[in-house]
Amino acid sequence: MNGEEKKFHDKIIYMAQLASISFIWIFVAGIAVWILNLISISVDLNDAPGASIGISIIAIPVFFTLAGILTYVFVGFHKKNNNIKE
């Protein structure tokens, strides 16, 4: 692999990695939307909305923390790389 090709290759890989990170965020956001939707249904039907809100208070932050950790690692890895190159 010559320099040009390698650069291209790295770029593609980097894009794919970015895509996977954003996929995680979409997943997490999807879960949040889902849970919020269920809460609104239970409020509409007056069907023990307290219970659903209680669960969502625990569940949603957990998912966001997980996505946050992954993003933190990804960003953390790449930040230092740039510094080395400089």
């Binding site: 879960i31 889902w34 669960i55 997980l66 950790i69 690692v73 990804f74 953390g76 230092k80 790389n81």
Partner: protein
């Protein structure tokens, strides 16, 4: 430095070998497993086509093997992430060759277990209703949420500590370079990256423990939130968690022994690792017995008639053989085998682990079926015989587990290489310092 690095790689060559060398055995195993899985898939499609009538379930035994296996598999999944998090958190140095294997069990088994409620549905085509019309108030949705959380967390927890190893595979070149390149997330092994990774792992392992505990607690809630005799019990949450860890450790031991044999990892998984883990198994066995004892003693002493129906069905009725089999498999055999050093050989531990896994499966059976089979009103007592469909899906699920594991070990090292290296290079000194810090200092000094 360069020289030294090369030699360490060579030392751990045994861990890379399975990835690069594919023998005939591999193809045969995969082929056989795929056949079993295909058959199971066929049986499942048949079930969807004809309806749940092809199973052995009926009224009043409306839940059968699928729910039993659901609880069982999710239980097994506690091996991994939970054990590995506890070991990491307690800085147990002997964890290093074990954690990865444990985490892989979790990820695979959780996926299998999580599918079981869907297999169990009468209308799998409507499963999306839980998104559009779900009720978070139903314990089943608590499960959906917590299993999703646990699955995400444990995959992340499996993946992050794998990054340095993936980078090693990437640097070796050879097959699937782009794949490893993609997964290694630009790991170069710089100090900063190490710090980031360690911090992330530390946060995760603290997070993953409550999630894991919540998963099995919530599964027990499926049962204990109903009013049914034998289910409606406050002890169920911790009882299920203990059982889950118990069966998880046993499954982990079996997997370790299998890989030790097939991948010739005797140098990494030594008798001492098995001894330590099996001590944990012994403790869990005693704990399990304590919970079982409390659960049944309160039932028998109170002698509430419906409760008694269920207990007698288990102890002297049609389920006596499963109930007492469970006690023998879960308590008597492991305690005898694991309390004597003489029996605590690899073979002995393997035997005890297998009985524990069987025993824990029987326990799940004993919890699910008898309560359903004994309706409270004066209706006839139910009976349940699993059909061929249920058996083949059970075996298919086991095959998926083995296949998942075999494939994983084809692409990634099943022992964390960098953690072993780190152990060699740093932790001896670190442990020495740590032990020193435990000891009393010179007389008269206080902190």
């Amino acid at each position: 430095m360069e020289e030294k690095k090369k030699t360490t790689v060579d030392i751990d060559e045994a861990l890379y070998r399975p990835i690069y060398e594919t023998g005939k055995g591999f193809y045969i195993t995969v082929g056989v497993l795929l056949m079993i899985i295909l058959f199971a898939a066929f049986m499942y499609i048949r079930q969807v086509y004809y309806g749940l009538g092809v199973t052995g379930m009926n009224q009043p035994v409306t839940w059968g093997f699928y729910i039993v296996n659901f609880v069982f598999f999710i239980g097994i999944s506690h091996a991994g992430t939970l054990i590995s998090a506890i070991l990491r958190l307690s800085k147990a140095e002997w964890r290093r060759p074990i954690t990865r294997m444990a985490e892989v069990i979790t990820a695979i088994v959780l996926a299998i277990g999580g599918l079981h409620p869907i297999i169990d549905l009468g209308r799998p085509d409507r499963v999306l209703n839980i998104f559009t019309a779900g009720r978070l108030q139903s314990p089943l949705l608590w499960d959906v949420t917590s299993i999703t959380a646990y699955f995400t967390a444990s995959t992340v927890y499996l993946y992050l500590p794998m990054i340095p190893d993936i980078a090693k595979l990437r640097d070796r070149g050879g097959k699937l370079r782009w794949f490893y390149d993609f997964l290694s997330w630009g790991w170069q092994g710089t100090e900063h990256q190490k710090k980031v990774l360690n911090r992330a792992i530390n946060i995760l392992m603290v997070m993953v423990i409550p999630i894991a505990v919540s998963v099995h607690t919530v599964i027990s809630y499926i049962f204990s939130m109903t009013l049914q005799p034998g289910w409606h019990s406050t002890i169920f949450g911790p009882y299920f968690v203990v059982g889950a860890i118990f069966s998880g450790i046993a499954a982990l031991l079996i997997v370790m022994i299998a890989f030790r044999k097939f991948f010739h990892l005797e140098n990494y998984l030594k008798l001492i690792h098995f001894r330590y883990l099996s001590t944990l198994l012994l403790i869990m066995s005693l704990l399990w017995f304590y919970f079982t004892f409390s659960e049944y003693l309160t039932g028998i002493f109170g002698a509430e008639p419906h409760e008694m129906d269920v207990i007698l069905y288990k102890m002297t009725g049609p389920y006596a053989i499963f109930f007492w089999g469970m006690v023998i498999c879960n308590f008597i055999i492991p305690v005898i085998v694991l309390s004597f050093k003489k029996f605590k050989t690899i073979k002995g531990i393997l035997f005890a682990s297998i009985t524990v896994v069987i025993g824990m499966w029987l326990e799940r059976l004993n919890i699910v079926i008898p309560s359903l089979a004994n309706p409270r009103l004066e209706l006839s007592t139910g009976m349940y015989f699993p059909s061929l469909t249920e058996w083949s899906l059970f075996i298919g699920a086991l095959a998926v587990f083995v296949l998942g594991y075999v494939l994983f070990s084809k692409f990634f090292p099943i022992i964390s290489i960098w953690e072993i290296e780190e152990g060699r290079e740093e932790s001896i000194k670190e442990v020495e310092e740590r032990v020193k810090s435990y000891l009393p200092g010179p007389a008269g000094t206080t902190e």
